[in-house]
Amino acid sequence: MSSTELSEDGSGALERALGAEHAAVWVYGLARAFVPESETGSTVEAGASSHREHRDRARTLLRAAGATPPAPRAAYRTPSPVRDRNSALHALLAVERDCSVGWMAVLERSRSTELSELALRGLTGAARRATKWRVELGERPSVPPFPGRE
Protein backbone atom coordinates (compact mmCIF):
# COMPACT_ATOMS: atom_id res chain seq x y z
CA MET A 1 0.00 0.00 0.00
CA SER A 2 1.42 3.34 -0.98
CA SER A 3 1.58 6.20 1.45
CA THR A 4 -1.44 8.41 1.11
CA GLU A 5 -1.56 12.14 1.18
CA LEU A 6 -4.26 13.31 3.50
CA SER A 7 -5.43 16.88 3.70
CA GLU A 8 -5.99 18.20 7.19
CA ASP A 9 -9.76 17.88 7.04
CA GLY A 10 -9.47 14.55 5.20
CA SER A 11 -7.35 13.25 8.04
CA GLY A 12 -9.80 14.53 10.65
CA ALA A 13 -12.71 12.91 8.81
CA LEU A 14 -10.83 9.61 8.57
CA GLU A 15 -10.09 9.74 12.30
CA ARG A 16 -13.79 10.23 13.02
CA ALA A 17 -14.73 7.38 10.65
CA LEU A 18 -12.23 5.20 12.49
CA GLY A 19 -13.87 6.23 15.78
CA ALA A 20 -17.23 5.07 14.38
CA GLU A 21 -15.65 1.78 13.25
CA HIS A 22 -14.19 1.21 16.73
CA ALA A 23 -17.67 1.71 18.20
CA ALA A 24 -19.18 -0.61 15.57
CA VAL A 25 -16.70 -3.40 16.35
CA TRP A 26 -17.55 -3.07 20.04
CA VAL A 27 -21.33 -2.99 19.52
CA TYR A 28 -21.28 -5.95 17.11
CA GLY A 29 -19.40 -7.92 19.76
CA LEU A 30 -22.06 -7.02 22.30
CA ALA A 31 -25.02 -7.67 19.98
CA ARG A 32 -23.78 -11.14 19.07
CA ALA A 33 -25.06 -12.44 22.40
CA PHE A 34 -28.60 -11.20 21.75
CA VAL A 35 -29.21 -11.99 18.09
CA PRO A 36 -29.83 -15.74 17.57
CA GLU A 37 -27.36 -17.36 15.23
CA SER A 38 -30.03 -19.20 13.30
CA GLU A 39 -31.76 -15.95 12.48
CA THR A 40 -29.58 -13.02 11.50
CA GLY A 41 -26.44 -14.29 13.19
CA SER A 42 -24.56 -14.65 9.92
CA THR A 43 -25.28 -11.00 9.12
CA VAL A 44 -23.88 -10.07 12.54
CA GLU A 45 -20.75 -12.12 11.91
CA ALA A 46 -20.25 -10.69 8.42
CA GLY A 47 -20.87 -7.16 9.70
CA ALA A 48 -18.39 -7.57 12.56
CA SER A 49 -15.75 -8.84 10.16
CA SER A 50 -16.37 -6.02 7.70
CA HIS A 51 -16.06 -3.38 10.46
CA ARG A 52 -12.79 -4.92 11.66
CA GLU A 53 -11.44 -4.78 8.13
CA HIS A 54 -12.44 -1.12 7.65
CA ARG A 55 -11.05 -0.23 11.06
CA ASP A 56 -7.72 -1.82 10.15
CA ARG A 57 -7.55 -0.13 6.76
CA ALA A 58 -8.39 3.26 8.28
CA ARG A 59 -5.62 2.79 10.85
CA THR A 60 -3.13 1.79 8.18
CA LEU A 61 -3.97 4.81 6.01
CA LEU A 62 -3.67 7.21 8.94
CA ARG A 63 -0.30 5.76 9.92
CA ALA A 64 0.90 5.90 6.32
CA ALA A 65 0.00 9.59 6.30
CA GLY A 66 1.97 10.16 9.49
CA ALA A 67 -1.05 10.57 11.75
CA THR A 68 -1.71 8.74 15.02
CA PRO A 69 -4.90 6.68 14.74
CA PRO A 70 -7.25 7.17 17.70
CA ALA A 71 -7.48 4.15 20.01
CA PRO A 72 -10.79 2.47 20.81
CA ARG A 73 -12.57 3.30 24.07
CA ALA A 74 -13.02 0.64 26.72
CA ALA A 75 -16.80 0.72 26.17
CA TYR A 76 -19.51 2.67 24.38
CA ARG A 77 -22.98 3.73 25.42
CA THR A 78 -25.71 2.47 23.11
CA PRO A 79 -28.96 4.37 22.35
CA SER A 80 -30.69 2.23 24.97
CA PRO A 81 -29.23 -0.48 27.20
CA VAL A 82 -28.70 -3.66 25.16
CA ARG A 83 -30.53 -6.42 26.98
CA ASP A 84 -32.55 -8.20 24.29
CA ARG A 85 -32.83 -8.75 20.54
CA ASN A 86 -34.72 -5.52 19.88
CA SER A 87 -32.34 -3.24 21.77
CA ALA A 88 -29.40 -5.05 20.15
CA LEU A 89 -30.85 -4.38 16.68
CA HIS A 90 -31.35 -0.70 17.55
CA ALA A 91 -27.72 -0.46 18.66
CA LEU A 92 -26.57 -2.14 15.42
CA LEU A 93 -28.63 0.29 13.36
CA ALA A 94 -27.20 3.25 15.30
CA VAL A 95 -23.58 2.26 14.65
CA GLU A 96 -24.23 1.64 10.96
CA ARG A 97 -25.71 5.12 10.62
CA ASP A 98 -22.71 6.62 12.39
CA CYS A 99 -20.36 4.71 10.11
CA SER A 100 -22.31 5.91 7.02
CA VAL A 101 -22.00 9.51 8.16
CA GLY A 102 -18.32 9.03 8.97
CA TRP A 103 -17.41 7.49 5.61
CA MET A 104 -19.50 10.02 3.70
CA ALA A 105 -17.42 12.81 5.27
CA VAL A 106 -14.24 10.99 4.21
CA LEU A 107 -15.52 10.54 0.66
CA GLU A 108 -16.29 14.25 0.36
CA ARG A 109 -12.80 15.18 1.50
CA SER A 110 -10.75 12.46 -0.17
CA ARG A 111 -8.07 13.35 -2.69
CA SER A 112 -6.86 9.84 -3.46
CA THR A 113 -8.45 6.94 -5.29
CA GLU A 114 -7.43 4.55 -2.56
CA LEU A 115 -9.13 6.56 0.17
CA SER A 116 -12.23 7.17 -1.97
CA GLU A 117 -12.57 3.45 -2.62
CA LEU A 118 -12.32 2.65 1.08
CA ALA A 119 -14.80 5.41 1.95
CA LEU A 120 -17.30 4.21 -0.67
CA ARG A 121 -16.97 0.63 0.53
CA GLY A 122 -17.43 1.72 4.14
CA LEU A 123 -20.45 3.83 3.23
CA THR A 124 -22.05 1.14 1.06
CA GLY A 125 -21.52 -1.68 3.56
CA ALA A 126 -22.91 0.40 6.43
CA ALA A 127 -25.94 1.47 4.34
CA ARG A 128 -26.72 -2.13 3.33
CA ARG A 129 -26.49 -3.45 6.87
CA ALA A 130 -28.55 -0.52 8.20
CA THR A 131 -31.25 -1.55 5.73
CA LYS A 132 -31.16 -5.14 7.00
CA TRP A 133 -31.55 -3.96 10.58
CA ARG A 134 -34.39 -1.59 9.64
CA VAL A 135 -36.17 -4.51 7.95
CA GLU A 136 -35.66 -6.65 11.08
CA LEU A 137 -37.02 -3.84 13.24
CA GLY A 138 -39.93 -3.18 10.87
CA GLU A 139 -38.82 0.44 10.34
CA ARG A 140 -40.08 2.23 7.25
CA PRO A 141 -38.72 3.37 4.93
CA SER A 142 -36.02 0.71 5.05
CA VAL A 143 -33.83 2.63 2.58
CA PRO A 144 -33.15 6.37 2.95
CA PRO A 145 -32.53 8.10 -0.40
CA PHE A 146 -29.12 9.42 0.70
CA PRO A 147 -27.26 7.13 3.11
CA GLY A 148 -24.61 9.06 5.04
CA ARG A 149 -26.68 12.26 4.75
CA GLU A 150 -29.58 11.16 6.91
Binding site: A13, A23, E108, R128, P145
Partner: protein, 161 residues
Protein backbone atom coordinates in the same frame (compact mmCIF):
# COMPACT_ATOMS: atom_id res chain seq x y z
CA UNK B 1 -22.71 -3.29 33.27
CA UNK B 2 -20.60 -0.37 34.35
CA UNK B 3 -19.84 1.78 31.36
CA UNK B 4 -17.48 4.72 31.63
CA UNK B 5 -18.25 8.19 30.44
CA UNK B 6 -17.18 9.37 27.00
CA UNK B 7 -19.47 6.87 25.40
CA UNK B 8 -21.15 6.10 22.11
CA UNK B 9 -24.12 8.42 22.43
CA UNK B 10 -22.19 11.43 23.66
CA UNK B 11 -19.15 11.05 21.44
CA UNK B 12 -21.09 10.20 18.32
CA UNK B 13 -23.63 12.97 18.68
CA UNK B 14 -20.74 15.36 19.18
CA UNK B 15 -19.07 14.01 16.06
CA UNK B 16 -22.29 14.27 14.15
CA UNK B 17 -22.65 17.89 15.13
CA UNK B 18 -19.12 18.52 13.98
CA UNK B 19 -19.84 16.73 10.71
CA UNK B 20 -22.98 18.78 10.22
CA UNK B 21 -20.96 21.88 10.90
CA UNK B 22 -18.58 20.94 8.14
CA UNK B 23 -21.44 20.09 5.81
CA UNK B 24 -22.61 23.68 6.08
CA UNK B 25 -19.48 24.64 4.14
CA UNK B 26 -20.35 22.36 1.27
CA UNK B 27 -21.82 24.81 -1.25
CA UNK B 28 -18.35 26.17 -1.93
CA UNK B 29 -16.38 23.02 -1.10
CA UNK B 30 -16.73 21.53 -4.60
CA UNK B 31 -15.32 24.70 -6.12
CA UNK B 32 -12.20 24.56 -3.94
CA UNK B 33 -11.65 20.84 -4.38
CA UNK B 34 -12.40 20.90 -8.08
CA UNK B 35 -10.01 23.79 -8.69
CA UNK B 36 -7.04 21.89 -7.33
CA UNK B 37 -7.63 19.07 -9.83
CA UNK B 38 -8.89 20.34 -13.17
CA UNK B 39 -10.48 23.76 -12.91
CA UNK B 40 -14.17 24.20 -12.16
CA UNK B 41 -16.10 20.98 -11.51
CA UNK B 42 -17.95 19.71 -14.56
CA UNK B 43 -21.59 18.68 -14.34
CA UNK B 44 -21.09 16.22 -17.23
CA UNK B 45 -20.42 13.04 -15.22
CA UNK B 46 -23.71 13.58 -13.36
CA UNK B 47 -25.94 13.84 -16.44
CA UNK B 48 -26.18 10.10 -17.29
CA UNK B 49 -26.78 9.33 -13.61
CA UNK B 50 -29.73 11.74 -13.50
CA UNK B 51 -31.21 10.20 -16.65
CA UNK B 52 -30.65 6.71 -15.28
CA UNK B 53 -32.35 7.57 -11.97
CA UNK B 54 -35.41 8.97 -13.78
CA UNK B 55 -35.59 5.82 -15.95
CA UNK B 56 -35.44 3.61 -12.87
CA UNK B 57 -38.22 5.62 -11.27
CA UNK B 58 -40.43 4.99 -14.31
CA UNK B 59 -39.53 1.31 -14.39
CA UNK B 60 -40.30 0.98 -10.67
CA UNK B 61 -43.65 2.77 -11.05
CA UNK B 62 -44.59 0.37 -13.86
CA UNK B 63 -43.45 -2.59 -11.74
CA UNK B 64 -45.43 -1.38 -8.73
CA UNK B 65 -48.54 -2.47 -10.60
CA UNK B 66 -47.57 -6.06 -9.77
CA UNK B 67 -49.60 -6.62 -6.64
CA UNK B 68 -47.20 -8.83 -4.67
CA UNK B 69 -44.29 -6.56 -5.23
CA UNK B 70 -45.82 -3.12 -5.02
CA UNK B 71 -44.35 -1.96 -1.69
CA UNK B 72 -40.74 -2.63 -2.67
CA UNK B 73 -41.22 -1.20 -6.16
CA UNK B 74 -42.81 1.90 -4.69
CA UNK B 75 -39.80 2.36 -2.41
CA UNK B 76 -37.45 2.06 -5.40
CA UNK B 77 -39.53 4.64 -7.26
CA UNK B 78 -39.39 7.08 -4.34
CA UNK B 79 -35.65 6.71 -3.74
CA UNK B 80 -34.71 6.92 -7.42
CA UNK B 81 -36.99 9.96 -7.87
CA UNK B 82 -35.06 11.68 -5.05
CA UNK B 83 -31.81 10.77 -6.79
CA UNK B 84 -32.98 12.22 -10.10
CA UNK B 85 -34.09 15.41 -8.37
CA UNK B 86 -30.87 15.93 -6.41
CA UNK B 87 -28.65 15.13 -9.39
CA UNK B 88 -30.57 17.53 -11.67
CA UNK B 89 -30.35 20.23 -9.03
CA UNK B 90 -26.59 19.73 -8.77
CA UNK B 91 -26.16 19.73 -12.56
CA UNK B 92 -28.06 23.01 -12.79
CA UNK B 93 -26.07 24.50 -9.93
CA UNK B 94 -22.88 23.74 -11.86
CA UNK B 95 -24.30 25.43 -14.94
CA UNK B 96 -25.12 22.26 -16.89
CA UNK B 97 -28.24 21.10 -18.65
CA UNK B 98 -29.84 18.12 -16.89
CA UNK B 99 -31.92 17.30 -19.96
CA UNK B 100 -35.67 17.11 -20.12
CA UNK B 101 -37.16 14.99 -17.36
CA UNK B 102 -40.30 14.45 -19.47
CA UNK B 103 -38.70 11.79 -21.67
CA UNK B 104 -41.15 8.90 -21.65
CA UNK B 105 -39.32 6.42 -23.84
CA UNK B 106 -39.40 2.80 -22.62
CA UNK B 107 -37.12 2.73 -19.58
CA UNK B 108 -35.69 -0.77 -19.72
CA UNK B 109 -33.08 -2.21 -22.08
CA UNK B 110 -34.72 -4.34 -24.78
CA UNK B 111 -33.12 -7.60 -23.71
CA UNK B 112 -34.59 -7.19 -20.24
CA UNK B 113 -38.18 -6.81 -21.33
CA UNK B 114 -38.88 -10.54 -21.07
CA UNK B 115 -37.80 -10.73 -17.43
CA UNK B 116 -40.33 -10.50 -14.63
CA UNK B 117 -40.62 -7.10 -12.99
CA UNK B 118 -38.60 -7.95 -9.93
CA UNK B 119 -35.64 -9.31 -11.90
CA UNK B 120 -35.73 -6.30 -14.20
CA UNK B 121 -35.73 -3.94 -11.26
CA UNK B 122 -32.84 -5.80 -9.64
CA UNK B 123 -30.68 -5.65 -12.75
CA UNK B 124 -31.53 -1.95 -13.17
CA UNK B 125 -30.43 -1.29 -9.58
CA UNK B 126 -27.22 -3.28 -9.99
CA UNK B 127 -26.42 -1.29 -13.09
CA UNK B 128 -27.25 2.00 -11.34
CA UNK B 129 -25.02 1.10 -8.39
CA UNK B 130 -22.14 0.25 -10.72
CA UNK B 131 -22.55 3.40 -12.82
CA UNK B 132 -22.54 5.62 -9.75
CA UNK B 133 -19.56 3.75 -8.32
CA UNK B 134 -17.60 4.26 -11.54
CA UNK B 135 -18.48 7.96 -11.48
CA UNK B 136 -17.08 8.59 -7.99
CA UNK B 137 -13.42 8.86 -9.17
CA UNK B 138 -14.48 11.38 -11.85
CA UNK B 139 -15.83 13.90 -9.35
CA UNK B 140 -14.81 15.30 -5.96
CA UNK B 141 -16.08 17.00 -2.85
CA UNK B 142 -19.82 17.44 -2.54
CA UNK B 143 -20.46 15.64 -5.85
CA UNK B 144 -18.39 12.63 -4.82
CA UNK B 145 -20.51 12.41 -1.68
CA UNK B 146 -23.73 12.71 -3.63
CA UNK B 147 -22.76 10.09 -6.20
CA UNK B 148 -21.39 7.75 -3.52
CA UNK B 149 -24.62 8.09 -1.58
CA UNK B 150 -26.65 7.27 -4.70
CA UNK B 151 -24.52 4.15 -5.19
CA UNK B 152 -24.96 3.11 -1.55
CA UNK B 153 -28.74 3.66 -1.75
CA UNK B 154 -29.00 1.45 -4.85
CA UNK B 155 -26.98 -1.26 -3.07
CA UNK B 156 -29.34 -0.94 -0.10
CA UNK B 157 -32.43 -1.19 -2.31
CA UNK B 158 -31.04 -4.51 -3.57
CA UNK B 159 -31.34 -5.78 0.00
CA UNK B 160 -35.12 -5.39 -0.09
CA UNK B 161 -36.05 -5.90 -3.75
Amino acid sequence: MDIPRGTLSSSVSLNRRRLLGLSALLPWAPVLLGCSASGAPSPEPLVPLATNAAEDERLARATAAEAEFSEQAELVAQVRAEHAKALRREIERLGGDPGTPTNTSPPSPGSDSTKPGRARLRSALREAQGRAEETVPLVSGHQAGLVGSVSAACASLLEVV
